[in-house]
């Protein structure tokens, strides 16, 4: 199925525009279509979550936008320019945190600033600002091995913010965390996002998370990876616990849930019957 989505009414040219992107991998003699003619527009400062079953190509889509993978066909356009390789204007947050284990929290956050040759004093000041923003000021000189999973991911978020990207690409950032930490980090992320507005594409396999965070939820389907449904979440920020327990939230969650788990033709058939002698 090919679905094209224009940005929400009232917004101008899209910040991110994915245009008929197809990505195929060859596995031995077989070809596997990770993304099939995917088109998606994301407006400036929009928070879009992408949810779908594993193998639906959501991470591939993110990697193409990050410039870490190239599409087989079609193109990804950011700020009117086709993506050709990674760049500091597109921050990426990985599920596995990807902190440099030999650097302290502060040095990790300063990493991109050092690349950009920001003078030392300014580097430190900026790093400290974002370390405070994610609440890690007491651990600025700690090594990643001393941090819990949630703290590591907060450090990674500070590191991504420090180079001042206009887009944040988040690849299941809270996927490896326990449910309580995840809820806390979702709220902190929205809090951060409301202070420092960015265009966010957030990948998750958690329906609640997708609805709680987003302006718009993109549901993908697998084999081949494609956009299956797009659901607007027209509910105001700031969102808190109250929102999470509201009937509007529940209704939207049900919609997204059905869209993810009851996709036409993807319901698992029963396994071949065992013949017993």
């Amino acid at each position: 199925m090919t679905t094209s989505n224009s940005p929400r009414p009232g917004t101008q040219a899209a910040k991110i525009s994915v245009q008929a992107v197809t990505k195929t991998f060859s596995l031995g003699r077989q070809t596997f279509t990770a993304l099939d003619q995917v088109s998606l527009d994301i407006a400036d400062n929009e928070f879009v979550t992408v949810v779908g079953p594993s193998g639906c190509g959501k991470s591939t889509l993110l990697n193409i936008l990050a410039g870490l993978e190239e599409p087989t066909e079609g193109q990804a356009i950011v700020d009117g320019t086709p993506v050709s390789g990674p760049g500091p204007e597109r921050g990426v947050i990985f599920q596995q945190y990807a902190l440099f284990p030999w650097l302290t929290v502060r040095k990790n956050v300063e990493f991109g600033l050092k690349t950009a040759r920001v003078p030392k004093a300014e580097r430190r000041e900026r790093a400290d600002y974002f370390i405070r923003m994610v609440g890690l000021e007491d651990f600025a000189d700690a090594l990643p091995k001393m941090l819990s999973g949630g703290m590591r991911q907060r450090c990674a978020i500070a590191r991504a913010y420090a180079v001042n990207p206009s887009i944040l690409l988040m690849d299941e950032p809270f996927g490896a965390l326990d449910a309580l930490t995840r809820v806390k980090l979702q709220e902190q992320l929205l809090d951060t996002w409301s202070k420092e507005q960015r265009t966010v594409m957030f990948i998750t396999h958690d329906v609640d998370e997708a609805v709680f965070l987003a302006n718009r939820v993109v549901v993908m389907a697998a084999r081949p990876g494609r956009i299956y449904d797009v659901i607007d979440v027209d509910l105001p920020y700031p969102r808190s616990e109250e929102f999470r327990l509201s009937p509007e939230f529940a209704a939207l969650r049900n919609r997204v849930w059905h869209s993810v788990y009851h996709q036409d033709g993807t319901t698992p058939s029963s396994p071949p019957a065992l013949t017993t002698a």
Partner: protein, 273 residues
């Protein structure tokens, strides 16, 4: 001296903060005491064997021989000569191995060109090169240092290469998306990430350099610990052979300790299991 490398600390997955703030590791006294007891027992067994008439010198004979050899300066000179050779070969070997290992790991072309030779020379014990080295380089220091160089180089190059190819892809991607280019990724990600591998390679390299040195001196030398033992063999001088053996063991152990301390300092960021 704790001879066995014990894991630095048992950090629990879920309780990292707490465990890193409390005292790290187990009490140090116990393994040290066990080591001391073990050494004392070993000397005791040796002494008992000698007393029972097995053809080994008494520990006391060995100690007095060591004193004699120290008094006339022979032992110090032999140690200095042997250490000089091993350090020259080892430093040269690792100094060449580290850049070559990096190049092999980073550039497929270099790897394709160099790897068959390394695999080939790896199957030849460095000692088997000695006859050739003596013919080509004379009986000077050169052939000995060369075989030690070869031993250290082969051990270190393989692990440096392994270190570079096993750098976590995600870390490289993390650096790339922060705008870092190839040279920066190499210096700021690949080099630190492969340091643990390099240090392990250096330790293995030092071990094989030391082993090769002694054997090289047994075959062709006019001084050094290996030569001293070879010479003592001709005169059936068992205490001197023992002095040589024990000196070699202690020196090897000390050098390994030095590298171990360096390893702990440089790679303390690792999460150990």
């Amino acid at each position: 001296m704790a001879v066995i490398t014990e894991p630095a600390a048992k950090t629990g997955r879920d309780n990292r903060l707490a465990s890193s703030q409390t005292r790290r590791g187990r009490p140090r006294g116990l393994p040290l005491a066990l080591n001391a007891v073990s050494i004392a027992l070993g000397i005791g067994v040796w002494w008992a064997l000698a007393a029972l008439g097995v053809k080994v010198p008494q520990p006391i004979e060995v100690v007095s021989r060591a004193r004699d050899l120290l008094a006339d300066g022979t032992l110090e000179n032999d140690i200095l000569v042997s250490l000089g050779r091993v350090l020259a070969g080892f430093v040269l070997g690792t100094a060449v191995a580290i850049p070559v290992g990096f190049l092999m790991g980073w550039y497929g072309v270099v790897r394709g060109l160099v790897e068959p030779w390394i695999q080939f020379f790896r199957t030849i014990p460095p000692l088997a090169i000695i006859p050739l080295a003596i013919v080509l380089m004379g009986i000077d220091e050169a052939p000995k240092i060369f075989v030690i160089f070869l031993a250290a180089f082969l051990a270190c190059v393989i692990s440096t290469f392994q270190g570079v190819v096993s750098v976590d892809r995600t870390l490289i991607n993390a650096a790339r998306v922060l705008g870092t280019r190839d040279a920066g990724i190499f210096a700021r990600v690949v080099v630190p990430a492969s340091t643990p591998f390099i240090l392990v390679g250096m330790r293995v390299g030092l071990g094989s350099a030391w082993a090769t040195l002694v054997a090289a001196e047994l075959i062709a030398a006019q001084q050094g610990l290996g030569y001293r033992m070879q010479n003592a063999q001709l005169y059936y001088d068992l205490p001197t052979i023992f002095v040589g053996l024990i000196s070699i063991g202690i020196l090897g152990l000390l050098m390994d300790r030095v590298l171990l301390v360096a390893e702990r300092r440089l790679t303390g960021w690792q999460e150990r299991r």
